[in-house]
Symmetry: C2
Subunit: 412 residues, 2 copies
């Protein structure tokens, strides 16, 4: 039961000039399931990525890092069903074999291919079935393939996640389209979060690299369902350079500002979609922390609240449980936090109420107001640390019976 | 449903010479409930403590820190029902008032009293009812009051937690008795963990301070139910000095070794009792990490596994889910961890099986062995990081439907 999320309208997903996508049934783990996606990029495209910091990172993540270091990427291959993680040397060979086969098919070099896998971990990737499916994915390549691809990369997602928008850059219309998958690190062996955003802007490789890191920081790295970081998390930003704008080479000026804002917006919406589809989620929660001395301490507080099982179960119960929120702020790890100065508000899209100040419950707060706010499915906990001017927001979902049910019943 | 834990036998709880305990019904929050405990210490007793690092620490914790800095503690007062946390200046006044009233009653100074509160947070402590109950607690003072006190300090605990043992120190028999309360930080407004251990050894104040920190580190600071750190956590170690041994003044020699071992043993058993009584717990899990470069990184790995909702729900389901364990190890924060070298075993008191090595599932592992081990209620995850010689163990419980039910249904 996703929270305020619906399947994207195919007509809303705009093709990005220079990008074609094709899908196929390769029988990776299950029959009659589109589980293979090929993305072809026009010559001259630039690609940047960020990846999981889990030390048990999957084989394809290792290969992606190697190939991005070389550059001149021309294709991406994504399979679901098997994550190719915890697979040792044979897993690396399978990821490299995937790239080699794709390269032969497209007439490019193996290190111009980025491989991605998501699904069960600790199981071998059936690379021969994947390779056998590649020609069918190639035959399916088309500019309007985003809707089909967003479905083909799903694992336990209940809905496909894709977003598109345009933005004026240097007098040209730039198109940005992206897709993501993941039900938020909660599906143990279904390894996790993938995000792909493509635009046709002309932007230098350095700036693209900076933008993918900033966008990831503000989107996929600002969400949590249960604090578990997967082995396969990957976020890729593509710029095909076909929009014809003057190349953006400095992080300044109107063109950069417009592109930056639009890419971050798309990434945030894709990341939020993962939280909205978090298994068992009934509430979408924004933990907005302001007044910190730096962004890092705001994130610490945001994550402490967002990860607290006590806060998450209280939100599931629509219980405005201030004690749990205050306790989580208190143990977030800011040693010199002055709790007598901080203020906390609970809000939904209709109203926001001061609930805590002076180290305890706000004198003006009444339980009825808290209960009224919590009845909504979109909730905000706003926290002013009153120490500085930095801010950060973390998005999460609540913690329900269904979370335990799904994760306890699940057998690999 | 506590895991392999039962009510202590009153006859097993040995009086500690120099310590008397009394309980009373003070009506702090509920009627007909022993909710007030007074502990009187003989002159010359030494006391040391460690407290929550939560910035929202409760008023009594602040007062305890002040009074311990002065020293010469002669009494402890513990109330349940109201935690006196998140109560601002009035809360501090209530804690100080408790000490002043106790001091008048016993003919000592107010700063010779340590106050402790546990229960609902954000509510004012009814200090006048507490003070009115003190004479009845005083009238009840007796050396064999541990069993009654262990019950009177309970909040949502399903069982009282108390442990006693003796040890030879310098040819004298030293008695160590302790009690604890807490269902493991999982009861939001029922603020949390208290531990009191008393012995009659003669030991210097400096060593007592070192021992309370070491014992806390190896016991109460090595457990987790859900990662939520409370506002009131306190652990107190008392040495009345009545055993007649030569004063222990150096962290060396047989007398120190014997006392140290026995105090840590009592603290560990009291801490484990809290996990065994963790709400919704059906399994008691030891995460034993070895081969680390230092104890800190072993604890990081232990806590990453122990806090993972995915691991905890898998254990609830008796599912030997290796992927979840390996992923948690991978994101524990050891940047240069070589996953190809680490090894993981699953075990119960009867057997232990190698389940992972070389970056993936162990070749010798079969699912049947995992399932057989997981059928037990006492489980060990042993992890060899193969980087050094440090080790640390973290204890936790599994994560069940009942956890969500208890915490979602709970209303302050």
């Amino acid at each position: 039961m996703a929270v305020n999320l619906s399947t994207p309208n195919p007509a809303d997903l705009r093709p990005v000039p220079g990008v074609r996508l094709g899908v196929a049934e390769a029988g990776i783990r299950k029959a009659n399931r589109r589980d293979l996606t090929l993305i072809e990029l026009a010559p001259g495209s630039r690609v940047a990525g960020v990846f999981t910091r889990n030390r048990f990172c999957a084989a394809p993540v290792q290969v992606c890092r190697e190939h991005l270091a070389v550059g001149d990427i021309r294709a991406l291959v994504i399979n679901t069903g098997i994550a190719n993680a915890g697979t040792g040397e044979p897993g690396l060979a399978a990821a490299r074999g995937t790239c080699a086969a794709t390269a032969r098919l497209l007439g490019i070099a193996a290190d111009q291919v980025l491989p991605f896998s998501t699904g069960v971990i600790l199981e071998p990737l059936p690379v021969e079935r994947l390779v056998a499916g590649l020609p069918r994915a190639q035959a399916d390549l088309r500019a309007d393939g985003w809707f089909a691809a967003a479905h083909a990369i799903m694992t336990t997602d209940t809905l496909a996640k894709a977003v598109s928008r345009t933005v004026e850059v240097d007098g040209r219309t730039v198109t940005i389209t992206g897709m993501s998958k993941g039900a938020g690190m909660i599906k143990p062996n279904m390894a996790t979060m993938l995000g792909f955003v493509a635009c046709d802007a002309v932007v230098s490789q350095d700036l693209l690299g900076a933008l993918v890191r900033e966008a990831a920081d503000l989107s996929f790295n600002s969400i949590t369902v249960d604090g578990d970081t997967s082995t396969n998390d990957s976020f890729i930003l593509i710029a095909t350079g076909q929009a014809g704008n003057a190349e953006i080479t400095a992080a300044a000026g109107a063109a950069w500002a417009a592109l930056r804002e639009a890419v971050i917006d798309v990434a945030v919406r894709l990341a939020q979609a993962i939280v909205r589809d978090g298994e068992g989620a009934t509430k979408f929660m924004s933990i907005a922390v302001e007044g910190g001395t730096d962004r890092d301490e705001c994130r610490k507080v945001g994550y402490a609240v967002a990860h607290s099982p006590l806060v998450k179960t209280a939100f599931f119960a629509s219980d405005p449980n201030l004690g749990r929120i205050l306790a989580a702020i208190g143990y977030a790890g800011i040693d010199d936090l002055d709790v007598s100065r901080l203020r906390v508000w609970l809000g939904n899209p209709d109203e926001s109420v001061l609930v805590a100040e002076h180290g305890g419950r706000a004198a003006s707060y009444v339980e009825e107001a808290g209960a009224r706010i919590m009845a909504h499915s979109e909730l905000t906990v706003r926290i002013d640390l009153a120490r500085g001017s930095a801010a950060a927001t973390v998005w999460t979902c609540d913690f329900s019976y269904d979370y335990v049910k799904i994760n306890a019943d699940y057998r690999s």
